[in-house]
């Protein structure tokens, strides 16, 4: 909004004669300020503007930071239409210049106060005379204390322009963008615009008040801040001219206009300054400027040194446009605007799987400028992928590799070609050192195979696996501790166990809303009917939880669930301890906190009788691992005596079905366990041997090892696998 001051007439207006609604409201509310605001007079301005001249008595400290006085005369200008905020000017001849939150005007004085950051359209709903007067009084009081500009508010630019320039300090040329904007570029095709870069000494925070529209005025403004801009500019122009001659550049070079980017450190306090940029487009060609600054070019290949002429007469006709500079987007800027602090912001991450979840998770963090990434995926983008993939550039990315497409998208965005690197490959083909050199490897491949590969083959690096459930309503994150003491596979098996023991999660792996299970599918395959918004919700959660988990050294097992009213419930499970036993080429993991605790308690309850039940768990044939996670305790038709136990069958079939359904076949029948009485050994009795022989036969039939566990005193147990005992 134009904030220039136009002197009013001498015609006084009485309170009764006030016509502008704003004036009436302001005047009628003065009384409520208890003598701290006094109306001195009202004058008529042009176009029926009314000038209310008021004395404010702000509460300012004896020794204010800025020279605001006990009494300040303020002019408020209201206009007949109610389309804009009244303008506010400080009338005192020596009212300080260059204060924060003052407006740019044609003349230095009177100083135009910027009372509100919001525009009138936003403010008009709460605007009243007293609200306005109060805001002016607060402006004076906070300015007096140097508190109007809050510490966490960004410093104000040196000058404000209506147009802008996007600056990448490494670029030498300028190109035009829509809407009066410019952008630095490395290319000099066509008639170039030359980019000159100058750094100045630090100046105080505060906007320059006056409008600057020519080169002379620009020099004067800097002079008022004790900076000789023209002296800084001259060697840059001379250098450009000399280069032009040396390299025999043609006409276009000399016809190029100049854009001046000035780096001005602005003092936040007496010690600390922060760099800010100001941009000025100088509407004169290099050829024209060269003679003013002391070079005349003859025939494009010679030049003559001439006396420089930086007189007002020469400089005033050269128009200058102020361009508000905006740094081009880079990682640092992205981090700043995302509130990313230093830790982990430069960490190396490897992400496996750039599908719907992986790509959106990655782009969330790319927009944070967070980390340095290896992206691994072998698949290409097909039309249906664009429904839920972070790339929406179907023109360019169709049939492109997912990792390559999204890597380019992120790198372009951040103008940083080291930010991410694609690996167009199956993970098993990628050099392990790529992953081992990362701070963490993230698996979003939705493949149990990938997760098991990472858990078993990629050592010495922390890993995390995250995926949606088939219906897309739940999101799971398994995070190893920093030492991978709790590896992904162990966390995965506990996750299945949690589905069994937390009834509200029993539908977690349902594939369709009717609850029907289809076989021959991976449990991390998601149905094709999930809308993008579920991915949005969970990729956001994934990014946030990921950053949080980086700061936590411990292992984690978390499940988020979005309900029908879009509420999200978060469950974090205590990671459980497992006992590890090896025999032959098998490694057996026995869940201590759940399984052993349950069966021990059950044994104690049943003493002096023996008791027992079914072992529930999983077997990884590839890595030769057996996970004993859960149990079905002795059914009611079992026979429990001090020296014998015969496990019954009542309800067992249903329970096993249920377990397989809930865990999508990931947990199942492994074998049998039974207890021995107090003070008895854990060796097989004659009966035990007979039973184990049965189990062996049965196991052969199922293609899995026979497993028997005998439980004794003090949680001691012995496991028998095939013909081995542990």
């Amino acid at each position: 909004m134009e904030q220039d001051y136009v002197t009013p007439s001498n015609k006084k207006i009485s309170i009764e004669e006030l016509r502008n609604d704003g004036s009436k409201q302001i005047v009628s509310s003065i009384d409520s300020f208890g003598g701290t605001i006094i109306l001195l007079q009202v004058l008529e301005g042009k176009d029926n503007d009314e000038f209310l001249i008021l004395k404010f008595l702000p509460d300012v400290p004896n020794d204010p930071t800025n020279d605001i006085r006990q009494e300040e005369v303020i002019t408020i200008i209201t206009s007949p239409n109610n389309l804009a905020l009244p303008k506010v000017f400080a009338c005192r001849d020596d009212f300080p210049l260059g204060l924060p939150h003052t407006n740019v005007t044609k003349d230095k004085r009177p100083v135009s106060l910027c009372i509100f950051e919001e525009n009138f359209e936003e403010l008009k709903h709460k605007w009243s005379g007293s609200y306005f007067l109060n805001a002016i009084k607060s402006w004076l009081e906070l300015t007096a204390r140097g508190e109007l500009h809050k510490e966490n508010q960004p410093l104000e630019p040196f000058v404000i322009g209506s147009k802008g320039i996007i600056v990448n300090p490494d670029d030498s040329f300028i190109k035009e963008l829509p809407n009066g904007f410019y952008k630095t570029t490395g290319s000099n095709l066509g008639t170039p615009m030359h980019r000159l870069f100058i750094s100045t000494s630090p100046v105080e925070n505060g906007v320059v008040h006056q409008r600057i529209d020519n080169l002379y005025a620009l020099g004067e403004i800097f002079k008022s801040k004790n900076i000789d801009l023209l002296a800084l500019l001259k060697p840059k122009i001379i250098q450009l001219v000399d280069d032009g001659i040396r390299y025999k550049f043609l006409g276009d070079f000399w016809q190029g206009l100049l854009v001046l980017i000035v780096e001005i450190p602005i003092l936040r306090d007496s010690v600390n300054s922060e760099p800010t940029l100001a941009g000025f487009k100088i509407n004169a060609t290099l050829g024209e400027l060269s003679s003013i600054f002391g070079r005349t070019i003859i025939g494009l290949d010679k030049l003559m040194r001439v006396e420089e002429n930086l007189s007002e007469g020469k400089l005033t006709p050269i128009e200058v446009e102020i361009l508000s500079p905006h740094l081009s987007l880079n990682r640092t800027l992205a981090q700043t605007y995302s509130g990313i602090d230093a830790e982990f912001s430069e960490a190396k991450f490897t992400l496996v799987g750039l599908g719907a979840l992986g790509s959106q998770f990655f782009m969330d963090l790319a927009r944070n400028g967070f980390g340095i990434w290896n992206l691994i995926d072998k698949d290409i983008l097909l039309p249906h992928n664009f429904i839920r993939h972070a790339s929406t550039d179907i023109d360019n990315h169709l049939a492109e590799n997912k990792a390559a497409a999204i890597s380019k998208q992120a790198n372009d965005l951040l103008n940083d070609y080291d930010f991410s690197k694609p690996f167009v490959a199956n993970i098993y083909e990628v050099d392990k050192s790529i992953m081992q050199g990362s701070d963490i490897v993230i698996d979003m491949s939705t493949s149990i195979g990938v997760e098991r590969y990472l858990a078993n083959e990629i050592k010495g690096v922390r890993k995390l696996s995250a995926f949606l459930n088939p219906m897309g309503t739940d999101f799971v994150m398994l995070t190893e501790d920093v030492e991978s003491y709790y590896p992904l596979d162990i966390l995965e098996i506990q996750y299945y166990k949690e589905l069994l023991t937390n009834p509200e999660l029993s539908n977690h792996l349902d594939f369709e809303s009717d609850g029907k299970i289809r076989y021959a599918r991976g449990c991390r395959d998601i149905t094709s009917k999930i809308p993008q918004e579920n991915l949005s919700i969970f990729s956001g959660i994934a990014s946030k939880a990921f950053k949080q988990n980086l700061n936590n050294k411990n292992a984690g097992l978390q499940i988020w669930r979005a309900d029908e009213s879009q509420g999200v419930t978060h469950r974090r499970f205590n990671v459980e301890d497992w006992e590890e036993k090896s025999i032959s080429d098998w490694t057996i993991y026995i869940n201590k906190n759940h399984f052993l605790a349950t069966v021990s308690e059950f044994r104690t309850d049943k003493l002096p009788n023996e008791t027992g039940g079914i072992l529930i768990g999983a077997i990884d044939y590839h890595y030769k691992k057996i996970y004993i996670a859960h149990t079905i305790l002795a059914p009611e038709d079992s026979i429990e005596r001090p020296t014998l136990f015969i496990r019954g069958i009542k309800g067992v079939s249903e329970k096993l079905n249920q377990i397989q359904n809930i865990t999508n076949d990931n947990l199942k029948y492994l074998g049998e366990w039974h207890s021995h009485p107090k003070n008895c050994g854990l060796g097989m009795s004659g009966d035990d041997k007979i039973q184990f022989a049965e189990l062996l036969n049965e196991a052969k039939l199922n293609g899995q090892p026979a497993i028997m566990l005998i439980l004794g005193d003090d949680n001691n147990f012995k496991i028998y696998i095939d013909n081995y005992e542990l």
């Binding site: 300020f33 208890g34 003598g35 701290t36 008595l57 509460d59 300012v60 400290p61 004896n62 020794d63 204010p64 930071t65 006085r69 006990q70 009494e71 009084k137 007096a144 204390r145």
Partner: protein, 379 residues
């Protein structure tokens, strides 16, 4: 305790001021008039500002600069005297934990028992006797007494004493938090003078009170407060302070005009009497020098009735002119004028930016700080 404030009440020609420090409330002098139209209810405000102990209002310290009526009016009515055990809850009197007086309260033969000065004298004697007799309760709050200045007539045997040049950092055996006094007067000579001349003003306690910023090093506000001390006392204060390298104790952010903005601070009175050939209209340089110890933005507070351009003294119009010459019109504040303009006492709030004179009344009801007045049909 709440934030640090300095308050000068509108009490006409008279003094009532309150300091609220981090851990002590301090009243200097009182002139509490009967409340009626146009008279500010000082007692009500004091009760609001002061803390309570066992539901009884108390001030950690009361400083009586001297016992002229306009410095102790209605003391007996509003302040508890005697043992704490005799406190009557119906009276809502303010308990004084520690009392500072000068020697002349006991040296002055012209005090009658039924005046406020007489009531104070009786209380001073009571407290004094506890010290004299080394009573075990002498150091309890409500019994404590300090003599400021010299004991010319040996009336204050065993009573603790603060002498000019001393910095006081504790009261009630408790360290003051980021606040202290520098004692300027009365000097021994002042005590002798007042006894000789029967002049209570000469006995005035003069101090510099100073609040520290949170860093504990820089001052947020220095107040020079001089009771009714005249220019002779101030000349001596200046001389002694400068001689002893205590110039910093002369610096001020707030100067409370001695003797209600009378001319006695600047020179002898009468100001001018052409018939008698008297001309004291030239201010003493020593007094101007004192004023020139002002710091940036310093304020003069004239505790008097409204100052008009006539021959009244106090307040004295030419005296105001002298003050205004030093600090500027907008930094000269008169308690009565301020009350007329803003309907409140002069209050300075202190913080890292120093003293801020608060002219605006905060909204109290809508911000939940004050009860709205009673409503309902029965009224």
């Amino acid at each position: 305790m709440s934030k640090n404030i300095i308050k000068y009440y509108p009490v006409g020609n008279g003094d009532t001021s309150l300091f609220k420090t981090n851990n002590a409330n301090i009243i200097t002098d009182i002139n509490i008039r009967e409340v009626k139209d146009g008279i500010y209810d000082v007692k009500k405000d004091l009760l609001k500002e002061l803390d309570e102990r066992e539901d009884r209002p108390y001030t950690d310290l009361f400083i009586l600069t001297h016992h002229d009526n306009d410095h102790c009016l209605n003391f007996g009515k509003h302040f508890h005297t005697g043992k704490i055990s005799t406190y009557d809850d119906d009276d809502e009197k303010i308990i004084i934990d520690e009392l500072w007086v000068n020697e002349y309260i006991l040296g002055d033969a012209n005090i009658s028992d039924d005046t406020d000065a007489g009531i104070i004298r009786k209380e001073v004697r009571r407290r004094r006797n506890l010290y004299k007799n080394n009573d075990s309760t002498k150091n309890e709050r409500g019994n404590r007494l300090v003599l400021v200045g010299y004991d010319d007539n040996n009336q204050f045997t065993n009573v603790p004493q603060h002498i000019p040049g001393q910095i006081v950092t504790e009261i009630n055996d408790t360290a003051l938090d980021k606040f202290e006094f520098f004692i300027h007067a009365p000097f021994k000579a002042d005590v002798i003078d007042c006894n000789a001349a029967d002049d209570r003003n000469m006995s005035s306690i003069v101090y510099q009170a100073r609040f520290y910023k949170t860093n504990g090093v820089d001052f947020s506000c220095r107040i020079l407060h001089g009771g009714d001390a005249d220019h002779y006392r101030w000349a001596r204060i200046k001389e002694k302070s400068e001689k002893n390298n205590n110039e910093d104790a002369l610096e001020w952010d707030i100067f409370q005009t001695p003797h209600h903005c009378s001319w006695t601070f600047f020179n002898d009175t009468p100001y001018k009497d052409d018939e008698k050939g008297i001309d004291n209209s030239e201010p003493k340089q020593t007094s101007i020098d004192i004023l020139n110890y002002k710091k940036t933005g310093a304020k003069v507070v004239a505790t008097s009735k409204k100052i008009v351009n006539n021959s009244d003294n106090p307040p004295h119009y030419p005296a105001k002119t002298e003050y205004v010459d030093v600090v500027g019109e907008s930094n000269f504040k008169n308690t009565h004028k301020f009350y007329d303009d803003f309907k409140k006492p002069i209050v300075f709030e202190l913080d890292e930016h120093g003293a801020t004179l608060i002219k605006a009344s905060a909204s109290a009801i809508s911000s939940g700080l004050s009860k709205p007045s009673r409503a309902g049909r029965a009224g």
